[in-house]
Every structure is written in structure tokens, then in C-alpha cells.
């Protein structure tokens, strides 16, 4: 063990290696139902060179590595080791924003940069990055985009993978390269910038889409040390509206029609429970709000950026109001208990601490998958039935529906809040989580980002994809040292 620690210290320096009980405990479990496992050491890396050396060392010593970029708390189980003797590779200290280019609307950031940090830096250049729904304050932007966390604005997704563009990666075999357009030039950002190349196009660089092997891979393929991101111009005018509805079908229809004509800059649907926990500052407020809020609410954001911003917003808000009307709904600045502007301030910004999903009951478990909007009602019905059967309070289940990829699909998310201090409640939530996952999987929910037990559920459905995935894994991580146990059947 001492020899191992010395070798690690040789790579990242003494200060970068930690084996204190507290630091190991911090990575031994997370807030999900993942089985706890204490790592052998935590290594804080500072550079791509260190990562490369570390992965080479891990290949020689057959040591499992678990990459982590965000700060705690973690919720998806993907940063908890599954193999004894694992070394946590903590990239959260790599906090450099390497470049911001207004002309090409691009930024290049290291994995430790959080949304709050990046947005502040971008704002100075008149830009911003598209947001996922209120990420926790410590969430790494790189990890978020690599895991394809859905964006609030589906219309800026010319790809499922937006806003992720190029990366620098050390694959599981210890080889480091740039992906996308950046992979066609010298492996040196400074040189690329000098040649006016800003890592814009994500694909290739040649006939293989390297970056797509990293998306939703839970650190099993390579360790990424920077990502380039497509940014947006900072809104000059921004208005937000709420569209309350008693029936999900109506609000879905509204979403279809609005996205179909490319209106809005951020559109998503929540049920009252989800919206209440986003907005309520404490458990009591959540409860009160939940009682007040409509069954479903679509949140619609409209912005004007550089040219004629007010005109754009005015034209769209009138058109969107007419679409709502055609669906028998109303585009409103507020609903009882809530103003749309308040929702924007929460949804489009990093969450306060504690994370908003914890407000209702302390702990929570998410179930998310992709489908198409028209299928969401049947999934909701199935989840509610199952909850009732399990004696779980149905009214507590949060529903968040996020159109993605210009509206051809959607991310559908259920949040089950529970009180972790109560063993009975925990056990019930855990069982319900497994049962619901199995039920909706059998109904055709597609776990495109298969965390935890979903990997088994999903991969078992499709032998050829699983074989292909294994072949690819065998090429890029031949010794299976990267986050072993994840994404396997």
C-alpha cells in the first residue's frame, strides 16, 4: 500500500494524495442507493499530464480509477467505486477557464469549473451557456455536458449532445488526444488558437465520432481534461411565462406546437410537486406551494439577444399566447402563489444549498429516461399506480418533462422525495425506485443515460448494442481500469 501511495505521490505530488478516513469516507457513498465502497485513495489531479501518467500507472498496476469532477453531494451512484482498491481521480481542482471567444461563441474549460463560475466569466464577454434545470452549485459543467444533462432550451440543440463540442481525453489505455475538430490539428490549444481554430465542431475528426464514446459513459471510457462549449449571446431582454393546465395532454400539445415553430428560449413542463420543490425554500413552503399550484405548468422563457431584443420578445410572446389559446390554455405572468420571473430565477441558475430536490424531505431518488412527449402520460399513470400500490404518497412525486433535441424527444424525470432518517421510508423508496424502473423499462422507457440498475435493464434489451459497446470498450479501455462495474450487464 505504501509503495502504491508513493507511486501516486510521484505522479501528483504528496499533497495530491489523500487516504485520511474522512476523505475516503467522502467518496465511499453518495446520496443514491448505490452500495457504499471505500476507495483506497483519493488523488487530486492538476493537469492532463498527471491524468495521463495516472492512467498509465493504473494500467500497469491494474488499479481501478473512478473519475470525479463535481463537488459533493453526488446523487447518481456513478462516482461510487464498485471495486475494492479503487483510486478516486478528483478533477475538481482543475478550475481553469482556458479560453473564451466571443467571435465564435466558444469557451474551453477544465472539468472543475462549475456553472456559477463559468456563467460569471461569460457574462463579462456578453455571453452565457445554456443551462440544465437548476444544477447543484458544485456541479461540474464538463461532467454535466458529458452526461448529456438535458438543457432547458431544446431549440439550441442542433444535436442531442449540445452544447458539448470538442474534448481532450486520456482514454483508458493511457493515450491522450483531442476529439472533434480539435483532433485534426496539433495537440496544443495555443497553436490552434494562433491559427484561429476555436474547437467549434464536435464530430470526428475523421470517420469515428470519438466524443460520442465519452457522452453518458460515466467515466468508463476516458478521462476528460477540457471540453469546449458552444455559448450563447447574453439576453438583453428576458421574459418568462407560465402555462397552467389540469391535463398533461393539453400542456404537451402546447409544447409541441410552440417548439414546432421554433418559438421560446427554454420550455419545460413540471407538475405542482416538482415546481413546489424547485421554488419552496424549506419543507413547509414546499408543502404550502404544492397545495396551491396547478397540476401541471409549462414554463416558457423568451429572450431577445443582440439585435432588436424587445421586438423579438414582443413578437414571440404574442404568438405563443395565441398557441396557448388554441390549446385551451393561457400564457400567464403568474399563477396563484408564484410569479414566472421567480421561476426563471431558480430554474435557469445553479441551485442554492441545499440542493432544491432535497428541500421537500431531505433525500430524494430520481428516475429519468428519454421518450417522446406523446408517451409521457402513460408513464406517469404507471408510476402513480405503482406508488399507490406501494403506499407511497403519490402527490409527493415530482414530474419534470424536458423537450430535447429540438423537440423530437424528451427527458422525462420522476423525483421521489423521502426521509432518509426513517429506515422504513428509505426502504420503501428504494423498493419503489427499483419497481418503477422495471415497470417503465418494460413499457419502453429508454434509459439513454443508464446509471446504476438501469444499465442492466437497458443493455439486456439489446444484445447487438451491448456487443458493440463491449468491443468499443475493449479498444479504449482494454484492461477495464476505468470505473469498472458501471455500464455493465
Amino acid at each position: 500500500m505504501n509503495a502504491t501511495l508513493n507511486q501516486l505521490a510521484g505522479i501528483v505530488g504528496q499533497a495530491g494524495v489523500s487516504t485520511t478516513p474522512e476523505s475516503l469516507a467522502a467518496y465511499a457513498s453518495d446520496s443514491s442507493f448505490a452500495t457504499p465502497m471505500k476507495p483506497a485513495a483519493v488523488v487530486k489531479v492538476q493537469s492532463a499530464e498527471q491524468v495521463e501518467a495516472l492512467v498509465k500507472w493504473a494500467n500497469q498496476t491494474q488499479t481501478p480509477l473512478v473519475p470525479v469532477s463535481s463537488g459533493a453531494p453526488h446523487y447518481k451512484g456513478d462516482t461510487v467505486a464498485e471495486m475494492p482498491g479503487s483510486v478516486i481521480v478528483d478533477l475538481s481542482g482543475m478550475k481553469k477557464i482556458l479560453n473564451i471567444n466571443r467571435q465564435q461563441r466558444m469557451a474551453v474549460v477544465e472539468p472543475g469549473v462549475t456553472y456559477g463560475e463559468l456563467q460569471a466569466a461569460l457574462a463579462k464577454e456578453g455571453m452565457c451557456l445554456s443551462m440544465p434545470l437548476a444544477p447543484r452549485a458544485t456541479k461540474s459543467v464538463a461532467a454535466s455536458v458529458l452526461d448529456l444533462e438535458p438543457r432547458l432550451n431544446a431549440l439550441h440543440q442542433w444535436n442531442y449532445t449540445e452544447p458539448l463540442r470538442c474534448t481532450e481525453v486520456t482514454w483508458g489505455d493511457g493515450n491522450r488526444m483531442f476529439t472533434g475538430e480539435a483532433g485534426a490539428g496539433p495537440r496544443d490549444l495555443e497553436k490552434q488558437w494562433a491559427a484561429q481554430k476555436w474547437q467549434v465542431s464536435p464530430t470526428g475528426p475523421n470517420m469515428l465520432d470519438f466524443y460520442r464514446l465519452l457522452t453518458a459513459s460515466q467515466g468508463t471510457m476516458g478521462i476528460v481534461t477540457w471540453v469546449s462549449l458552444r455559448c450563447e449571446l447574453l439576453p438583453q431582454v428576458e421574459r418568462t411565462y407560465l402555462v397552467p393546465a389540469a391535463k398533461l395532454e393539453d400542456v404537451n400539445e402546447f409544447a409541441y406546437k410552440t417548439l414546432r415553430v421554433r418559438f421560446s428560449d427554454g420550455l419545460f413542463v413540471m407538475n405542482g410537486a416538482a415546481l413546489a420543490s424547485l421554488m419552496g425554500g424549506n419543507a413547509e413552503e414546499v408543502k404550502t406551494l404544492k397545495a396551491e399550484l396547478p397540476t401541471y405548468v409549462a414554463v416558457v422563457n423568451v429572450v431577445g439577444r443582440e439585435l432588436l431584443p424587445e421586438e423579438r420578445v414582443q413578437a414571440q410572446e404574442q404568438d405563443i399566447a395565441e398557441i396557448a389559446q388554441a390549446c385551451g390554455l393561457q400564457l400567464l405572468p403568474s399563477v396563484p402563489g408564484l410569479r414566472a420571473e421567480q421561476v426563471r430565477a431558480k430554474a435557469f441558475e445553479p441551485s442554492q444549498v441545499p440542493f432544491w430536490k432535497e428541500t421537500a424531505k431531505g433525500a430524494f431518488q430520481d428516475i429519468f429516461f428519454t421518450t417522446t412527449l406523446n408517451r409521457t402520460p402513460e408513464f406517469i399513470e404507471a408510476v402513480q399506480k405503482q406508488a399507490i400500490a406501494a403506499g407511497y404518497p403519490v402527490e409527493d412525486i415530482g414530474v419534470y418533462i424536458q423537450p430535447i433535441n429540438m423537440g423530437v424527444g424528451c427527458h422525462c424525470e420522476f423525483t421521489l422525495p423521502y426521509n432518509a432518517a426513517c429506515a422504513k421510508e428509505s426502504a420503501r423508496a428504494k423498493k419503489l425506485f427499483v419497481d418503477i424502473s422495471e415497470t417503465i423499462s418494460s413499457m419502453g422507457a429508454y434509459f439513454s443515460r443508464p446509471h446504476g440498475i438501469w444499465a442492466r435493464l437497458q443493455l439486456n434489451k439489446d444484445a447487438q448494442s451491448t456487443i458493440a459497446l463491449k468491443k468499443v470498450k475493449g479498444i479504449f479501455d482494454p484492461n477495464g481500469i476505468l470505473n469498472p462495474g458501471k455500464l455493465s450487464v
Binding site: 467571435q103 465564435q104 442542433w158 444535436n159 442531442y160 449532445t161 489505455d173 493515450n175 488526444m177 483531442f178 485534426a184 490539428g185 495537440r187 484561429q196 481554430k197 467549434v200 465542431s201 470526428g204 475523421n206 470517420m207 469515428l208 465520432d209 470519438f210 466524443y211 460520442r212 464514446l213 457522452t215 453518458a216 409541441y256 415553430v261 421554433r262 418559438f263 439585435l307 421586438e311 423579438r312 413578437a315 404568438d319 421518450t371 417522446t372 412527449l373 406523446n374 433535441n405 423530437v408 424527444g409 419502453g444 422507457a445 429508454y446 434509459f447 439513454s448 444499465a455 437497458q458 434489451k461 439489446d462 447487438q464 448494442s465 456487443i467 458493440a468 459497446l469 468499443v472 479498444i475
Partner: protein, 555 residues
Amino acid sequence: MALTAEIYQAFEDVVGQRNISQDKGVLESYRCITSQSSAHYGPFDHKTPLPQAVIMPGSTEEVQKIIKLCNKYKIQFKASTTFWSAMGFIGSENAIQLDMRRMKGIEIDEKNMIAVVEPYAIGAVVQVEAMKVGLNCNIPGVGCSSSVVASTAGWVGFGPTSISMGVAGENMLGAEWVLPDGEVLRTGSLGAGAGWFNGEGPGPSTRSVLRGFQGTTGTMGVCTKVAIRLHPWPGPTCIPTRGQTPAYKASLPDNFKCYTLCYPSWEAWAKGAAMLHEAEIVYLGHRQFNMFGRDIKAAMLRILNDPNGQLADLEPLLQDPELKKQNELMKMDIQVVLAGMTARDIAYKEKVLDRILELCGGWKSEMMLEKDMQDYVLLYLLRLGHKNLNYTLCGSYEGNYGLSSNVFVATAVIEEASELKDKWAKTHTTIADTGGDSDMGSLSIIGGGGAMGWEFFVNFDAYDKASIQGTNDFIDETQKWMTSKGLGVDMGRWNQDIRRKDGLNFTQEEHDAMYVNAAQPLVFAYQWKVREAVNPNHLGGSYYRTLTPSKIGLA
């Protein structure tokens, strides 16, 4: 090396007698002369080898059986569909050609804006079906008579609408693919039986193997179905047309506007293009008619709009002072189409466009504002059904320079590039002299804006040896210029590394020698590994670029 009777029979048993041929006349028609196809590699006069048989499969199952037989007998194969490309032809004397024309199904999920298409569903037909339900698809610059699947699976697939709709790869959702070993891979949600809407995952996307920046040019099996993302079409259920062939015009409602934007300098042009990228107001953006050449584009447009117009009218038209003036005014131009989703939307978009012109000192070409001209251009660009015009001047063309990058980088050198071409055209008679700048292409090759997709048109005569040689010499010279400027590979040479001048595949040794010096050779070493894993018998030919890993010290 003809197929033995036994092997031929085995293939025939799969597709039936009517769908396989060994007839010399038929086989000859499946050989490619690159001068007839925009392939970007010259030398323009070689022929690809004669296939051993041409087979037309009718279903995924048939494709799978054919590929299994190819593996059993170690016969190379390549599927092509609409055959506009030079990549779609075989590179070995021990190979068969698959012609996918029997598979042409289209299914549209209107609500979720998805079309599931088979290979021979060409852009024109997919577009017609989509418009019936208020949707449209990205038609790449190759035109509407090419296969949607081919551009998605085989090549790049950007075009005039890519600014608002993305390129083929961005529009690719679930895909059904017969791998080179004969197994069928269904990507994303499709493999799990959950529908076509998501081509990613589960987890890392195996679709990475099927296409990267570009498709795999038929070297990684056969794509039998692909789902593509469709886009809004705020127009009638079919494009009403008027006029006489070939100058059909679209009669569309007022929410469609078509302009030729002109700028006083390339700096202004670049600024305008960047603003168009950012403002998200254009449906379509393409510098189209400059392909005829800076000096003659206005005259060409007049000829094309006259049902009796002929190339012989060019000389007199070039003397017309008014036309000269109009031509001069649109020296640095680009065509754009605005499509308003509502009356308010088009009013807003028009205002923004005017503001951009004001900020950049630009203007709308007057000649192109004539109603008939606008409507001609509108149909031309929305439909992309006039690709024959790419060839009108001399029968053949190659795209060169290809300054397909950062708008600001490309525009800064465009006059210098034009001068080089002009000098060459004036001093050599081998390429058409159309006035230096013949640069054309898409406003963006990526959804939402970014790099442009540009090429200079070099028109030459494919039946004249001197013209072919001259074109090659010219591109050698422009490559030298590109290299001296650090601008990379000339588009006329983009594909030189994928098939030899004798029309045959490169050997591995030859490829190794090329890629070992790449900026990041690892890319090609991984592609080698992927080929070994997915295509163990190497039946796809050398269009898939690989580097033996040991050449860079890898296992």
C-alpha cells in the same frame, strides 16, 4: 477474377435472378470516372475497377445474407444508392457493388418530427412527403436527387439549410445498420424497441462507429434505414410552381422572402455572416450563383430564367451595361431565405435582416429582387433540384480551395485565392475563365452557425486530356498556396488518400506511410482498431482511413 458459378448462385438465391447481374454492359455502368462526380481528389480520368456483380437487395434481411456470403467468400462489397459520389464505388477487383434502389420506404411521425427512410428515399421525395404535413428536411448541397441515407451514412451532408437544420449527422436519430460482419446493429432507442427518436446510447453511443465528421463511405457495412429529424415548413403542403422548364418559379406566400445580400468588402461580408449565425433569422443561407464565376453570374441567371436561353447568349449579355452594373453590385454576395412562422415572425426577421445590412453597410441586390428572379431562386434553393447546372459550363467541375472554416479566416484570403485562380485561368486555357472568384457554398456546415462550407468551382472538360491535366496542375498550385498560408488540404485533394490513382484501394503500408505523420496519428490508429473489431475481414476497402498501431508504438 470472376465469381464462380457457385458463389454467383448463392447471391442469386438471396435476391432472385432479376436483382443480380454479371452482364458486362451493366457492370461497366457501375464504374466511376471521377470527372462526373464532385469527389475532391482527381486525377479525374481514371476508372474504378469492374465489379464482379451488381446486386440489388430488397430488404435488411437480404442485405444481411449478402454480407454473410461476402464474409464467407472474402469478397469486398460496397453499397451505394444514388451514385453521385466517387466514394460509392469499389476499389478492388474482388468486389461486388450493391445498388440500394429497391429499398425506398418513407414513414413520417409528424408529431415528433421524425422521418424513417430507406436508402433510395431521395431528398426530393422525402421533402415532398414532409411538406404534406408541414415539415421539411435538410437537403445537402449535392441536391434533392441524392439519397438521404447516403449523405447520412456515407458522407458529410451539409447544405443551404444546415444553418437552421444542421447537417446530416446532426439530424441522424436511430439507425438500422448491417455491420461488415453481417450482424444488424440498431442504434439508440431503436435497439431497445423504444422507437426511432434517440440515436444516442445507451451510455456511450455506438453510432460513433457509423459516422464521425463524415460518414464511413460504405466501408462499415450497409445502412438499411435511418431516422432523421425533420424541421418546420411554414409553407403550403406542396410548393406551387409556375413558369416553364427549366426556369420554374415557386409561388409561395408572403412569409417567404428570398434575398441576395451584397457587401462592400469581405470584412463586411464576414461581419454580416457572423450576425446571421447569431441572429437565428435565416431558414437557408448559401452563396449559390457565384459558382458560375464572379464575372458572369448575372448573365447566367438571365439565361437560366429565359426558357429559350442558351450558353451562346452569354457573350452578348456580358456586353449589356445594366447587367454589368448589377453584376458588379453583387460581387460579394450571398443568397438567404427567410421563412416566417407567423406574420409577426417574418416582420421581426425582416427588420433584423435590414438592421444587419445597415450595420455592415450591405444591400439587397436589385436585380435579384425582381419577382420572377426571387421566386426562381426560392425554388432553386429550397428544393436544390438543379444540380445539373453545376456542370453546364464545361461538362465537369471540381471544387477546390475549400476554405471551409472560420468565416473570418476564409474571407480574409478569398481575394488572394481569386487572383491566383484568375491568373491561372487567363494564362492557361484548361479551366474556364469566369472571373477569379467562383467561391460558393453554405453559410454554415453546422447547425446554428460556425464554419462555412465553401469551395471554388473549377470548370473543366472531362473529355479533354489537356483540360484534365491542367485542372490537376492548377490544384497542385493552389495546394502549394494553401500550404504556404497554413490553410490545410485543398478541397480538390481532400480524398486523395482513400483510393489510388489506378482506382484500386491503398495497401495498409501505403496508408501507414500517410497517417504516421498526421497531427494526431492516434485518430487513425483507433480507426484501425475499430475496423479490426467490426470489419475483421477488411471487406470495406481503403476509404476507411487506418494506421497500424505499432507504427506509433502502440499495442
